[in-house]
């Protein structure tokens, strides 16, 4: 087994350990994915809820607020991620103190993902049966309780579905951020595998990313199956 690995994946073995090795790269990718997923998740859920409740047929309609937020979300979604990385450099430095490395990638990853997730949250929550919202209003629930007890509760399976989708697309973004100085498996695949013609490194990097995607998709599907009645 060890011979086979040495024979077919020589560069993977050579690049396994050390500061720029695979072990570190995997951790960097996980770090970028989950830390930015946490922040983008919180921001996205808040923005998504605000979009739903302030919409015309929401529980607390507010036309001006809705229009501004709606446009803002669209604006940030429209900026290509690789350009966003460069454009918000100074802001990134202000927040986390650095623009390179996995931590430097967090800010653009959050800003690039949160609007996308906000839209997903909005789509998930408008799917919640309007009649159930009306029933909750008739029961005498306040808007804040309707958000927590009805919207988030009834929309949970759909939220998890969008969350899964968002994390998977986030993994894609970490690869992109990695390639321009963020580290992680994306960096491994491009600056080691591609640029040094060490194809086995590129392929193994890709395989690790695929495994990560499949695991997350599987967990998401499992949770949705558990929650849906």
């Amino acid at each position: 087994m060890a011979d086979l690995v040495n024979k077919f994946l020589p560069n993977v073995v050579a690049n396994w350990e050390g500061d720029n090795g695979f072990v570190v790269a995997i951790w960097q990718t996980l770090y970028m994915t989950f830390v930015s997923a946490l922040f983008a998740g919180i921001i996205g859920i808040i923005l998504g809820i605000l979009l739903v409740v302030t919409a015309d047929d929401g529980i607390t309609p507010h036309k001006t607020f809705y229009t501004c937020l709606d446009k803002l979300v669209n604006l940030f979604r429209s900026i290509p991620f690789i350009i966003l990385l460069a454009v918000i450099g100074p802001f990134t430095k202000l927040i986390v103190g650095q623009t390179i490395g996995p931590t430097g990638a967090l800010v653009p990853l959050v800003i690039g993902t949160a609007p996308f997730f906000a839209r997903q949250v909005q789509l998930a929550l408008v799917e919640v049966d309007h009649g159930v919202i009306e029933a909750a209003e008739a029961i005498g629930l306040s808007p804040i309780k309707i958000i927590f007890r009805v919207y988030l509760r009834e929309g949970l399976p759909e939220l998890i579905r969008s969350g899964t989708l968002t994390i998977i697309s986030l993994i894609g973004l970490t690869a992109m951020a990695g390639a321009v100085g963020g580290g992680g498996l994306g960096n491994m695949a491009i600056s080691v595998g591609y640029q040094r013609f060490e194809n086995d490194v590129t392929i193994v990097s890709m395989l690790f990313i695929l495994v990560l995607v499949f695991v997350i998709q599987g967990l998401g599907d499992f949770a949705v199956r558990k929650l849906e009645h």
């Binding site: 009649g131 159930v132 029933a135 008739a138 029961i139 009834e154 009645h229």
Partner: protein, 352 residues
């Protein structure tokens, strides 16, 4: 204002929607007074504004103008917080049940109780009692997706009753159910009215639903209240065309008349077609025999529908009177002198 002391008082309600430059007057200047203990029916075709009107009662729909007084409280003047409190006194059930799919039957009934301040054990006791009232004690652990439509509506009723409301609003609650289940749900509502003394407002487009439980009826058309009265007066003596249509559909006399006209049976009998409406005891008088004895006029009964509404008999009869012209005339005059409504029906089809 002496007679205006109902538990629900809607006064001069207008509801106007503005949609893409178009103005829709959904409810026009409607006043309704529902007394405590009433089962008040609002009937009308879809788009008549009845759903909008009934949503005004708990202010799910804010009226453009007019006042809403429920339990001597002017709801339009309450703060958002006080309004939410007032809403707990008004239960509501819906056409599509509107249950939480993520909660079990038990959880759905518990839903309005979470802010009630009751302990968990008190809540359980109450939920068990409510599920018993609606006959679903064995379904507590099921999810709504595992229930039939009628069972879902029972859960919704238990949920609506959780905060011991004095008023229950039923918004087309039986329209999505089959006739047998409809009857069961209406019977349940009637029982709640009798046993718990809950005032019920029912909206429907089916006269049969009204007939079964309501004691008072309002008829709506194009946002206006066109007729209102006791069930017996509406059913036995409808005044507006729409009300007559609803009653005729319910007694099937409309379709029978069409058939009679098409068949030419009255011509064959060379008689005149008479419709008779009566409420109460008149039923027992042997009218047909009397007509022959007194005027030698033969009365061929072509159609008859007798119903018991609130323990009172309401009947409708169609017959062809055959005999000498002047005798038939006398017979009709005799009928007019009885406590019945007599109407001669033209044999021409409508519109001819």
């Amino acid at each position: 204002m002496a007679e205006q002391n109902g538990i629900i008082q809607l006064k001069d309600i207008d509801v106007t929607f503005h949609n893409e430059g178009k103005t829709i007057e959904a409810v026009k200047n409607v006043s309704i007074n529902v007394n405590k203990g009433d089962v008040f029916g609002v009937i009308g075709y879809s788009g008549a504004g009845k759903s909008t009107l009934v949503r005004v009662i708990n202010l799910l729909q804010k009226p453009t103008s007019g006042t809403v007084v429920v339990n001597d409280q002017n709801l339009t003047q309450l703060s958002a917080k006080d309004l939410r409190k007032a809403r707990r006194n008004i239960g509501m059930i819906f056409q599509h049940f509107n249950l939480m799919n993520s909660l079990t039957v038990y959880g759905n009934v518990d839903f309005p109780l979470r802010d009630s301040g009751l302990s968990k054990a008190e809540r359980k006791q109450k939920i068990d009692k409510l599920l018993d009232i609606v006959g679903l004690s064995d379904r507590a652990k099921n999810y709504p997706s595992q229930l039939s439509g009628g069972q879902k509506q029972r859960v919704a009723i238990a949920r609506a009753l959780a905060n011991d409301p004095e008023i229950l609003i039923s918004d087309e609650a039986t329209s999505a159910l089959d006739p047998k289940t409809t009857t069961e749900i209406l019977n349940l509502l009637g029982r709640l009215n009798e046993e718990l003394g809950i005032t019920i407002v029912i909206i429907t487009h089916e006269m049969d639903a009204i007939k079964q439980v309501c004691n008072r009826v309002a008829v709506m058309e194009n946002g206006e209240l066109i007729e209102e009265g006791s069930l017996l007066s509406i059913f036995g003596n409808p005044k507006q065309q729409l009300t007559k249509d609803f009653v005729n559909t319910s007694t099937h006399i409309g379709s029978v008349l069409d058939e009679i006209r098409d068949s030419g049976i009255v011509d064959k009998l060379s008689g005149r077609l008479i419709e008779l409406n009566y409420i109460g005891d008149s039923t027992n008088e042997p009218i047909v025999v009397e007509l022959y004895k007194r005027f030698q006029v033969e009365a061929n009964i072509l159609f008859s529908n007798i119903e018991r509404l609130q323990s009172t008999t309401v009947g409708i009869m169609l017959f062809a009177l055959t005999g000498d012209d002047d005798k038939v005339e006398q017979a009709i005059q005799y009928l007019n002198s009885l406590k019945v409504n007599v109407k001669e029906i033209s044999l021409k089809k409508e519109g001819e």
